[in-house]
């Protein structure tokens, strides 16, 4: 290629034209070939009846290799251009793919969802604010709002509180490593897997029969009556929230532990010498010192809680008054096929995260990374 460029350069206008045409040609042909190769792989994966393990291997090679190949190809294409164009195109090689995907998957969908939320079920009839009126007045939706609020307050509060207590205890115990690993373990489990675990904890047999769920077994052993906890309104939402606390306290423990290590021991020692008890030291020194961390952990769990869906979907499917916003959105999409209402709920979720977004942006602006 370099030779070709050198050979044609002195010829003037005609040679320049030829060069431009040549560049255009490879700019079209090479991606075209790449596209065809990728498409053949895609068709194979979609339609092949090959054994599952072959499809798995082909899928991984095709997916991972394909993306890597596209980058190398794009880089090769760019080197075919002159230095000026090379400099102009280079940034796009690096940030272009990310920007395109983010635009397609997050930025534009936000606008499209906003647009769709003013339309009817099949997105072809303008209905104004009717979907929002439904979202804020329908009885099930109001239950969903109430439950989401409970999730936000009890779920986030519980996980942060347990996380803080366990982190403080772990720091002062002989079991720091082991205890943190055990509490952290549920984070690696899927919500569906956790659903099975807790369904079994809450399992119910009629009174008189031996209970197989540990909660009812403990209660009958203490002389109480067994209950179907998941159908026991309005407390069943609370029993679902317990699962979230069980899963996400470990996250809080780990982050808090790291923060606690940053609290200078000299201040704590000084307070102890002045006669402060351990509770006083924690309340007046440790907690104010790690307040920033408490805020970030809380917002992280808050956002997880806001979008909570899997637990409700796999445990009760929103029955018995356990509906939340995200499960309602899923139902509107797939059960009632009402894209307008589904989009309106999604917009409500986005509006709910705006304060956190604004806070993040403020932090970012003041950090001067650029």
């Amino acid at each position: 290629m370099e030779d070709f460029e050198k050979a044609v350069r002195p010829e003037g206008f005609f040679a320049n034209l030829l060069l431009t045409l040549w560049r255009l040609l490879i700019a079209i042909v090479v991606p075209g070939i790449a596209f065809i190769v990728m498409y053949v792989g895609f068709r194979f994966l979609r339609e092949s009846r090959a054994p599952a393990w072959i499809i798995t291997i082909v899928a991984i090679i095709w997916g991972v290799g394909g993306v890597a190949m596209l980058y190398f190809l794009a880089n090769w294409l760019i080197t075919q251009f002159g230095p000026a164009w090379r400099r102009r195109l280079q940034p796009f090689l690096f940030v272009g793919p990310a920007m395109v995907i983010l635009a397609w998957y997050l930025v534009i969908p936000t606008l499209r969802s906003l647009f769709l939320s003013f339309f009817g079920p099949a997105s072809n009839k303008f209905v104004g604010l009717a979907n929002y009126a439904y979202v804020f007045t329908d009885r099930t939706m109001l239950t969903a709002f109430r439950n989401n609020l409970l999730w936000l307050i009890i779920g986030t509060g519980g996980a942060v509180l347990f996380g803080l207590i366990i982190a403080l205890l772990a720091e002062r115990s002989h079991l720091e490593k082991l205890s943190k690993a055990l509490i952290f373990l549920p984070m690696a489990i899927s919500f569906v897997g956790a659903g099975v675990i807790w369904k079994y904890v809450y399992a119910f047999k009629p009174p008189g029969q031996p209970q197989i769920g540990i909660l009812n077994a403990v209660i009958t052993a203490l002389g109480g009556d067994p209950r179907g906890w998941l159908t026991y309104r309005p407390w069943n939402t609370f029993f679902l929230i317990v699962i979230l606390i069980w899963m996400w306290s470990g996250f809080a423990v780990v982050v808090f532990s790291a923060a606690l290590r940053g609290v200078p021991s000299t201040i704590k020692e000084a307070a102890r010498i002045d006669g402060a008890g351990e509770f006083r030291v924690v309340l007046s020194i440790v907690i104010p010192y790690i307040r920033g961390t408490i805020v970030t952990v809380s917002t992280t769990i808050l956002i997880i809680t806001l979008k909570i869906w899997d637990i409700v979907f796999s445990m009760t499917n929103g029955l018995y008054g356990t509906e939340v916003l995200a499960s309602q959105q899923y139902k509107q999409m797939f059960k009632f096929l009402h894209y307008g209402r589904g989009s309106a709920i999604a917009i409500v979720l986005v509006i709910a995260v705006i304060p956190v977004m604004w806070y993040n942006l403020k932090q970012f602006m003041s950090s001067e990374v650029f």
Partner: protein
């Protein structure tokens, strides 16, 4: 950081309290594990804790969940047929086929982008990065309906490509953010000497930055792996109900739906679905924690 000398006084009472909390925290999981090894008839009649009195364990549940169980039936013509019950092996392979590319693709794209933001000068750099910071908290629910419509038009629903791209899109903001924080701290002098040697940005990235970023890449990889493997929502929406591509969380959910009282199968299935993330998680916990901290405690 300066941890060693700041150890608190250890207390036996605190250790006992913590031990009780740990036992309560772990009991549900132990119940699942024990039940998955018990015989079908005892599971539905006695609590799993009775295993202490009469330990009688089996691996039959796992066999049935992983390989399936042969059974014979007589069809309408009176011919005897043998068939095998459905099992999770296909779903495990599908989960692998979904997860590995859905981890590697966003990492690659995010690493390129992080390098671009950190070291390649271009107009609008700050605005674009600010948008990424804003996108960090946008709930993925916002994209479900619009992207599903696109996929239906492009006939992408039910394909691996569809779900890889979706996970890439939803994982990218955090990936770029974490990797940028790491890549931007690499000393300028290392890059400059490479420029002097005549390397272009692309090859500096491949030869220099990628190997140097391995700790950060690993942190995000584990994070994304656990997230994608455990995901149900994105799979339900974009893979749909096609059995050939269903991932393990979807299959587990359908067992809950169809055989909700067969605790011996449910518990074994749930444990099978957990084994890979748990292993990776324990083997690489250090990286996972580091990734968590980078994501939540900002500079």
């Amino acid at each position: 950081m300066a941890a060693k000398e700041e150890k608190e006084n250890k207390s036996v009472l605190v250790t006992v309290i913590l031990l009780v909390i740990c036992i309560v925290w772990t009991l549900p999981t132990i119940g699942l594990l024990v039940t998955s090894f018990r015989h079908r008839d005892v599971v539905s009649n006695t609590g799993w804790w009775t295993v202490i009195r009469e330990p009688n364990l089996t691996t039959e549940n796992y066999r049935q969940v992983l390989i399936g169980k042969d059974y014979t039936y007589v069809d309408s013509k009176g011919v005897e047929n043998t068939a095998r019950t459905e099992n999770l092996s296909r779903a495990i392979l599908n989960s692998i086929a979904v997860t590995i590319p859905a981890v590697v693709i966003p990492i690659l794209i995010a690493a390129f982008a992080a390098y671009g933001f950190a070291w390649v000068a271009f107009p609008g750099r700050k605005i674009f990065f600010t948008i990424i910071v804003a996108l960090l908290v946008v709930p993925l629910q916002i994209a479900l309906i619009p992207i599903l419509r696109d996929y239906l038009r492009l006939q992408l629903t039910g394909t691996f490509l569809a779900i890889w791209l979706a996970h890439t899109g939803f994982g990218l903001p955090l990936a770029i953010y974490l990797l940028f924080n790491y890549v931007s701290t690499i000393p300028r002098s290392i890059l400059e000497s490479a420029f002097i040697d005549g390397y272009t940005h692309f090859w500096i990235f491949i030869y220099l930055i990628l190997p140097l970023s391995v700790p950060a890449l690993a942190s995000f990889a584990i994070f994304q792996f656990v997230w994608v493997w455990n995901d149900l929502l994105v799979a339900m929406v974009f893979l749909g109900t096609k059995q050939e591509v269903a991932v393990i969380t979807q299959r587990l959910l359908s067992i809950i739906g169809t055989r909700g009282q067969d605790w011996h199968l449910l518990t074994a299935g749930a444990f099978v679905s957990m084994i890979l993330p748990l292993t990776i998680f324990f083997a690489l916990q250090r990286f996972f924690v580091r990734g968590l901290l980078a994501g939540s405690i900002k500079g």
